[in-house]
Amino acid sequence: MEKRITTPLTLEKVKDLKAGDSVLISGVIYTARDAAHKRLCELAAEGKELPFDVKDSVIYFVGPAPAKGDQVIGSAGPTTSYRMDAYSPTMIALGQRGMIGKGKRSPEVVAAMKAHGAVYFGAIGGAGAYLSRCIKKVEIVAYEDLGAEAVRRLEVEDLPAFVIIDCEGNNLYENGRKEYLESVK
């Protein structure tokens, strides 16, 4: 069963999500990769305002391909999340509630997620053409000079993802694999 969730992602909604849940995400989310994260965290360190409201936000780790023809956006699947590990704890402390990416996270990120209440979603890596169709509107909000890595505001509809790490630290990569292996014993 898929859970439908709509942003902003409040703490209450986060608490309802468990590792292994399939979700469909709708609403406004923001894009950022490592280069943008670096700048966002530098702003925060200087006590300056960030280019979007971080509280209860969801950040999608993606550097989309350029739009082609009548596309709103080009292919737009997740990038590997560990490159954001150095920055995510700061962002979570600032109020970010959700991350969409792929791959493993560091113990520091998981600790921040548990401390503040945040969730890590996996989107399907390599399914960029499919996922781009869930994106209905795109607007660059900062760092246009970074090209594909600029911060974009996306309006998404039913973006498919699954909960990899929930706010209690349960991990689908560990549990899913264990359960599968037990099922074929």
Partner: protein, 279 residues
């Protein structure tokens, strides 16, 4: 001596960059479809279904299957009786520039590994030359994403480590990669040569159809055994658990030094791309 105009090389590279990013090779698609049928784990099967739908959309709409349209790896097999009129390297880079622009492909190359300024046209290409007999020029373009490239490893084993050492290393690399390289993966392995030749062989192995096994029965058996062992790890599509961790293991081997056993493992994702044509 046969003459080939560098402009024809540019046109070919341009076309191959665009096609390779939208059209997955038939053997890779067939393996994804077969995995969809055979995957017993629910979430894993759903994911494989979306992966299948994804390459169908990419093909139908002629858009890249993945947003990471990679660094353009260009392999040339140049017949020794061919003469190129014009600057061959420049012709290849120009083909990449045009293909990535017109194809709306992402520009993912920085000019220097430390100063990291994007070249904004996805050049330079990574070029590999091979001189072969004859008067033809075969060009293969393989866009390579870095989610999987970053999970690749090389190791200089000792001869005494033998085939068991090779098996253990391949499994270790796949295990450490886990969910990061967008499984289901294709595993390219290079054994022998020198430090750099082993890595080259591993990449070259990824250019071979996943339906063609190594011509040497020893290595063909090793390919089959490693595929089975990798799929017994249970990592599954995207790492959520399941039967389908790898679609294929391709191995290439060559002579090496009496004191060495180099092994390189180059991981590719389910968006394994390569298209070729002959001039």
């Amino acid at each position: 001596m046969r003459e080939i105009n560098a402009l024809d090389v540019t046109a070919a590279v341009k076309r191959l960059c665009m096609e390779a990013n939208s059209y997955l090779p038939g053997d890779v698609k067939a393996r994804i479809c077969a995995a969809c049928e055979n995957e017993p784990w629910d979430l894993a099967r759903n994911i494989l279904g979306i992966i299948k739908e994804n390459f169908e959309i990419a093909e139908e709409k002629y858009v890249p299957a993945c947003q990471d349209t990679g660094v353009a790896c260009v392999f040339l097999e140049i017949g020794q009786d061919v003469h190129i009129n014009g600057d061959l390297n420049a012709a290849i880079h120009e083909g990449v520039r045009q293909g990535y622009d017109e194809g709306c492909l992402r520009k993912s190359v920085v000019r220097d590994p430390l100063d990291r300024v994007n070249t904004r046209d996805n050049t330079p290409a990574m070029i590999y030359y091979d001189i072969v007999p004859g008067d033809k020029l075969k060009i293969t373009v393989a866009p390579k994403g870095f989610g999987s490239e970053n999970m690749s490893q090389i190791k200089m084993l000792k001869p005494s480590d033998g085939i068991q050492g090779v098996k253990d290393f391949i499994l270790k690399v796949v295990e450490e990669a886990g969910p990061n390289p967008c499984p289901p993966i294709v595993v390219g392995v290079g054994i022998g040569g020198t430090f750099d030749k082993a890595a080259y062989l591993a990449k070259k192995a990824l250019m071979r159809s996943t339906d063609v096994r190594n011509a040497d029965p020893l290595y063909a058996d090793l390919e089959n055994e490693m595929l089975e062992k990798i799929n017994a790890l249970g990592i599954g599509p995207q790492g959520v658990g399941g039967k389908t961790t790898a679609l294929a293991v391709n191995i290439e081997q060559m002579a090496t030094h009496i004191a060495g056993l180099p092994v390189a493992v180059n991981i590719n994702c389910h968006v394994t791309r390569h298209q070729s044509l002959e001039l």
